[in-house]
């Protein structure tokens, strides 16, 4: 009978415990990633077959104005939604960290978008944005302003989507930041108060540095989330919408190429481009965090 030493037994148990997660990651994350990477160097020939074509998909991508426009759309969406969204999340978190009446109710209200079904949310927003019967236009017209074609005007469509994105992200980020705020010991503020720091100074000298690890996490995950935006565009912008070109993101373009046009190889190349962009932005942030993120331990 095979006898394991105590040490080996410990290792065996350890591997057994992490096995479900590792197997899950390998099958659901790593394998599709490698498969997509491989696909991006091939051309689909139908019936699941493909042949290797080297960098042809990437060369095609470089000359495809749709890809460039989708990249610009994605970057605008990410930059605007993260800057405004994270700022609003922080403001709401700070406000809801005060001793105000009905604090629990407000926290619930802000968190509701996170637990709402995106499809239902999109439907409601579509009604709000509706050019003829929507709430926003009714309000504009009630004060004598002209109606806006929120979701079909190329100038406003992307920003209309950004607003929904911000609305849906604030609650989740607010909860994370609130947890971070509640970790800050009261005595820091008391010491600062005695030292002569007013509320604004306290925010910048204590709250912000102390919450920076949480803020960093929120910024990184929000940027990754922003770069992957798909659902609100898919549900709110019709394929034939005139504003589609100016709203579609890289993920939406990937979806269109892979599943609507049937060119999975080209779709895979678009996903690889997004992956590289995400990795570069995240790596830069990891590098820059030394300048502004303060870890206590």
């Amino acid at each position: 009978m095979l006898k394991l030493t105590r040490r080996r037994q410990d290792y065996a148990w350890g591997y057994l415990m992490v096995a479900p997660t590792v197997i899950g990651v390998l099958i659901l994350n790593i394998y599709p990633l490698l498969k997509s990477c491989y696909l991006s160097f091939t051309q689909s020939t139908g019936f699941g077959h493909a042949h290797f074509i080297g960098l042809a998909n990437y060369v095609r991508m470089m000359h495809d104005p749709d890809v460039w426009q989708a990249l610009v759309n994605t970057l605008i969406y990410t930059a605007v939604s993260v800057v405004i969204g994270v700022f609003l999340s922080l403001v709401v978190a700070v406000l809801l960290n005060q001793h105000i009446r009905g604090r629990g109710i407000y926290r619930t209200i802000y968190f509701l978008p996170v637990v709402s079904a995106p499809a239902a949310v999109a439907m409601v927003w579509r009604w709000l944005y509706n050019a003829d019967a929507g709430l926003f236009n009714s309000l504009l017209q009630s004060v004598g302003l002209p109606a806006v074609h929120w979701l079909t005007d190329p100038h406003t469509a992307l920003f209309a989507i950004i607003i929904v994105g911000i609305w849906s992200m604030v609650g989740y980020n607010m909860v994370l930041l609130l947890a971070g705020l509640q970790e800050i010991p009261r005595s820091y503020y008391e010491a600062a108060e005695i030292d002569g720091a007013g509320p604004v100074r306290q925010f910048f000298s204590i709250t912000l540095p102390m919450i920076s690890p949480t803020l960093f996490f929120v910024v990184v995950t929000s940027i990754i989330g922003g770069l992957q935006v798909f659902d609100f565009i898919f549900m709110m912008i019709e394929p034939m919408n005139t504003a589609m070109e100016y709203t579609q993101s890289l993920v939406y373009l990937f979806y269109k190429q892979s599943f609507m046009m049937g060119d999975r190889s080209y779709g895979a190349a678009i996903v690889m481009l997004l992956l590289v962009i995400t990795l570069v932005i995240t790596a830069v942030q990891m590098k820059l965090q030394k300048k502004w993120v303060h870890y206590n331990d």
Binding site: S187, E190, E193, I194, A197, R201, M210
Partner: protein, 367 residues
């Protein structure tokens, strides 16, 4: 430098009264210690002086100025917190300079003051470090340094040594004493540790349940506690309390209780005669209980026989946990003596240092 005057200060959260009618004048340059058990209101009182808690009623003066509604930054105070509250993202230098920076002190003055304070607290080498890279004692010194550079009129310290180990606590106690001697500033120090209170304070305020029990010098509190609470709180190990009867026989007055018969001094006898009640509480400090065998005492002087249950050898002294009659007592004997569990020790009480408390309201009947 300033006198701090608290006039009938009261603090309540709804119906819950934390501090009741706190009336005290802390003299200029005095080192005043607030001592008491957890929840007695000592930290709340300090925080009211700092301006971190509102005063429910009463008046607080620092110098001649009424401070009730003055914000903490304008009270000319500095505070050392229990957890030090050093800003973790700032270096030692930045931590110490922060208060001066907020007061728009010129940079070169800040630099000079921080460096002077750092030198006096042996922090010069640590100025570029962040708090997480410091030991507990070093953090404590930075917290003090941060207060020192401000040159405030009043220093407030809220249990500043309670996070340190016993040895370091001893060292830091001496440093705080030195600091007070050097700065000659009013200091108000909160602690639950009676040793800290005794060693540091010019005067001590003993608090219980939000009420001042006694304000006096350390030795007066030790020798003349005004009630059973103060007598039990001040002194380590604590005073022994034994229910006793006052007995007067053949012109002699003595105290008698379960397992003992204590002679009293002439002065005490006079006072006991005047006490109306016959049932009292005898208070004997462990240092005032002696081994009759060692003293070669007369048989008449023996108060009772203690049955040794636990022996704690501390080196210079040996603590005997004994049973006297059916009561538990502690006696502090010279370290050289050997005792064994189960040994019967004939005990003599030091009749000059006995305390007698009322069983009714626990006040010291000998004062």
């Amino acid at each position: 430098m300033a006198e701090v005057r608290l006039e009938h200060i009261r603090k309540a959260y709804g119906d819950n009264v934390i501090v009741k009618d706190f009336d005290l004048t802390i003299r200029d340059k005095e080192f005043m210690v607030f001592v008491g058990p957890s929840g007695c209101g000592k930290s709340t009182t300090l925080r009211m002086i700092a301006g971190l808690e509102d005063i429910t009623s009463g008046k607080l003066y620092i110098g001649d100025k009424l401070m009730n509604d003055v914000s903490p930054k304008d009270r000319d105070i500095a505070m050392v917190f229990q957890n030090y509250a050093l800003y973790p993202h700032m270096t030692v230098y930045e931590n110490m300079a922060f208060g001066l920076k907020m007061r728009h002190v010129p940079k070169d003055v800040i630099k000079r003051k921080v460096q002077e304070a750092a030198a006096s607290l042996q922090l010069t080498e640590l100025l570029d470090r962040k708090p997480k890279a410091l030991s507990g004692g070093q953090r404590q010194r930075v917290a003090m340094g941060r207060a020192v550079v401000r040159e405030p009129s009043v220093f407030l310290m809220d249990e500043p040594l309670s996070n340190l180990d016993a040895k370091l606590r001893g060292t830091m106690r001496t440093e705080i004493s030195r600091l007070h001697q050097r700065l000659q500033t009013t200091m108000i120090y909160v602690t639950h540790d009676q040793t800290e209170a005794m060693t540091l304070g010019d005067r001590i305020v003993v608090l219980n349940d939000g009420v001042i029990q006694q304000v006096d010098t350390p030795m007066n509190l030790y020798r003349h506690p005004c009630n059973k609470f103060v007598a039990g709180f001040i002194g380590s190990p604590s005073m022994n309390f034994l229910p006793a009867r006052i007995v007067g026989e053949e012109g002699e007055v003595y105290l008698e209780g379960d397992g003992f018969h204590a002679n009293v001094s002439y002065d005490m006898a006079q006072k006991l005669v005047d006490v109306g009640a016959r049932e009292v509480l005898l208070g004997v400090r462990p240092d005032d209980i002696h081994d009759a065998g060692v003293l070669l005492a007369d048989k008449k002087e023996i108060a009772g026989q203690g049955n040794v249950e636990i022996v704690e050898q501390l080196g210079a002294t040996t603590l005997l946990h004994m049973r006297l009659g059916t009561q538990q007592i502690v006696a502090s004997m010279p370290g050289g003596q050997e005792y064994a569990v189960g040994q019967q020790v004939p005990l003599v009480f030091n009749i000059d240092n006995l305390h007698v408390f009322s069983t009714h309201d626990e006040r010291n009947l000998m004062l």
